[in-house]
């Protein structure tokens, strides 16, 4: 089991409390976190990725307590074992596509494997655009670049936050196909948080975050 959570509770700034179900993600699992906006999907992902210390509960990565290690060690583990895809993709506008993808290796302090980068550019059809800035690319190209960045280091898990909700059916399907293919190729588990019901059928495990919010007393 790669990732486990137990009794996670987060108190939000307003005072409301979020309680999350325990999850377990194995090495080749694909898990869907389903919930409406405001249900705390991103918050839960942040906690699982070591970006937000929960007020109670535990996150175990490869069996170790993720919040018991130093924050810089946690940052490094995240960089090496987790791949992220954001809804807004968020490629750095001042860097070229190639630099944006390479950023994953740089930030995780891992030497960049150029063959891996070139391989990804080729499979994702980005070779011609590699030296352009994100602004000069289409939404689809940016999406593929974001996926390339997420899988560059062959992470253990790919976390995607609303990867499809802004897309039409065709594009949503092709993005999910890509994500699944890349996860498989990298040997990574897939954890997707979304309110997009269209992609439900693709996942082995579905965790519903609905009705987990408790308003402050």
């Amino acid at each position: 089991m790669f990732l486990k959570s137990k009794d996670i509770t987060v108190v939000r700034k307003g005072g409301s409390t979020l309680q999350f179900p325990d999850i377990e993600v194995g090495h080749d699992d694909s898990v869907l976190l389903l919930g409406a906006s405001g249900a705390g999907k991103t918050t839960f992902l942040s906690v699982l990725a070591g970006l937000l210390r929960p007020n109670a509960g535990q996150v175990l990565v490869d069996g170790g307590d993720f919040y018991a290690i130093s924050s810089s060690k946690r940052d490094q583990e995240r960089g090496q074992k987790f791949g992220f895809i954001f809804q807004t993709l968020h490629l750095l506008p001042s860097l070229t596509l190639r630099q944006n993808i390479a950023l994953a290796a740089d930030m995780a302090n891992v030497p960049l494997q150029n063959e891996r980068l070139e391989h990804l550019l080729k499979t994702l059809g980005l070779v011609d655009k590699a030296d352009r800035k994100p602004d000069a690319l289409s939404q689809g190209e940016q999406q593929r670049a974001a996926i390339a960045r997420a899988v560059l280091l062959r992470p253990q898990i790919i976390m995607a936050d609303e990867p499809t909700s802004a897309l039409d059916d065709d594009n949503a399907n092709s993005v999910m196909d890509l994500l699944e293919a890349q996860a498989k190729e990298s040997g990574a588990a897939l954890l997707v948080a979304t309110h997009d019901n269209r992609i439900k059928g693709r996942f082995k495990t579905i965790i519903n975050l609905e009705s987990q919010v408790r308003e402050a007393a």
Partner: protein, 449 residues
């Protein structure tokens, strides 16, 4: 890709902001750098050219003027003293070396100095060719004069090189050319003191007091015949313009009851003195100043006072420069902060990709240091150019301060670049802490950056 690459990318993506900030840093550093360079090179120029002269003795008047005109050849002399004053000084037991100076003529703006070979020794001058003057109207020229061995030339009255009254009755012959010394000597023409006295005292004189300076009057070139073109010489020969000087000089002559003709023949402008001991430097001026019509000035003391007066303006410039640097630091702070606000989401992404919070701080710090460092380097370059322009635009510093030396990098440049970097460091403190504390989960939850 490290923090520096990221910082460079960020700087380039905000080129205008970054350029303005660097320009502000450059302005402050340039101001400081030029002020320090300028005052240092002026002070250096003064001390280099003082050449170990302990005292200057001349006619009563402004001691600063006397020092400037006789030591630095940067002002006009106030009047003359008698040759026998020099003879007397030479015999004084406190005096180690006494060198007479007779000023008053120029050739194309290069001052003719009537003196003794000791004057050349004072500046440790070496000959590039030829030898020291021996006969009347032989001359040794400074390396910057453009004259060469064997050249013959006539001098003009005054020191500025714009008079048209030419002593064309006598031609000087160049018997020696000096190697460059980096001092005023390079722009001087040196001859025996007797030659200058001969030129000014050896003719009939019609010394009708002061009318002689009006170029439009009977002295204009067209009015001169060869026979009478020296009839007004002495008047401005040794004194240049300004009636104060004249009346003083004339007054002195009257007191001594000299015939003017004989008087000029036995007059000099000043005497440069080296004393035997520091104690003599205290006592000799007192002894000299007790005499009725000559006075002694200590160049180092006069120049210290002069530089101190310059210091007021200098301090103002330093305050201005420091103000600029503080302002530029604030500008940089504002720019970094607004840049961070724009890039909050970028920073969050970097954290998600594994960057530690320290690394984000380092990126912000690198950005600030690159901008302020580039600004400081340009500031130092600009400072050198400004100081150079200041020196070449001030006539009286010509020959005294070597402008070319101002374009050469100095150790203190490193200090100025450090000042610039420190201003960048200060500016980046708050933004880099902000970057480190970025609430990533909150940003991600809110969605777009």
């Amino acid at each position: 890709m490290n923090s520096v690459t990221l910082a460079v990318a960020s700087i380039r993506s905000r080129a205008l902001h970054s350029t303005l900030c660097a320009a502000a840093v450059a302005a402050g550093i340039a101001l400081l750098c030029s002020v320090f360079l300028f005052s240092q090179s002026v002070a250096d120029g003064f001390s280099r050219n003082a050449a170990g002269i302990d005292l200057v003795v001349g006619t009563k008047g402004s001691p600063l003027q006397m020092v400037l005109s006789s030591v630095y050849h940067a002002d006009i002399p106030a009047g003359n003293i008698e040759m026998r004053d020099y003879e007397k000084l030479k015999r004084n037991p406190r005096v180690k070396m006494a060198i007479p100076l007779a000023l008053g003529d120029n050739y194309k703006g290069f001052r003719m100095v009537g003196t003794t070979p000791d004057y050349l020794r004072l500046y440790k001058a070496d000959f590039a060719s030829g030898e020291v003057f021996a006969a009347p109207f032989e001359t040794v020229v400074g390396s910057g004069s453009g004259l060469s061995l064997g050249d013959k030339f006539a001098v003009s009255h005054g020191l500025a090189g714009n008079t048209r009254d030419v002593h064309d009755g006598h031609l000087y012959t160049v018997t020696g050319v000096l190697k460059p010394t980096g001092t005023v000597l390079d722009k001087l023409l040196i001859t025996d003191v007797k030659s200058v006295q001969e030129l000014h005292g050896g003719h009939d004189h019609d010394h009708q007091a002061d009318s002689d300076h009006e170029e439009g009057g009977h002295h204009s070139k067209s009015d001169h015949g060869h026979d009478d073109d020296h009839d007004h010489d002495h008047e401005h020969a040794h004194k240049s313009d300004g009636h104060d000087h004249h009346s003083k000089a004339e007054h002195a002559h009257a007191d001594h009851g000299h015939q003017e003709r004989a008087g000029l023949k036995s007059q000099i402008t000043t005497v440069l003195i080296k004393v035997r001991s520091p104690l003599d430097l205290m006592n000799l001026p007192r002894q000299i100043n007790a005499e009725s019509d000559i006075m002694a000035a200590v160049p180092s003391y006069e120049m210290a006072r002069f530089v101190k007066n310059l210091g007021v303006g200098r301090n103002l410039m330093i305050v201005l420069g420091a103000g600029f640097i503080i302002l530029s630091s604030l500008m940089l702070l504002a720019s970094l902060a607004s840049g961070l606000a724009l890039r909050r989401y970028d920073l969050a992404v970097l954290r998600v990709l594994g960057a530690t919070s320290r690394r984000l701080s380092a990126t912000v710090l690198a950005e600030a240091l690159i901008i302020s460092g580039i600004g400081a380097i340009f500031g130092v370059l600009l400072g050198h150019v400004l100081a150079y322009c200041a020196v070449i635009s001030i006539e009286s510093l010509r020959g005294l301060v070597l402008p070319e030396a101002l374009l050469i990098p100095r150790a203190m440049d490193v200090g100025f670049i450090l000042i610039g970097l420190v201003s960048g460091l200060v500016a980046s403190l708050v933004p880099s802490i902000t970057a480190a504390r970025t609430d990533i989960a909150g940003l991600l939850a809110r969605g777009r950056g």
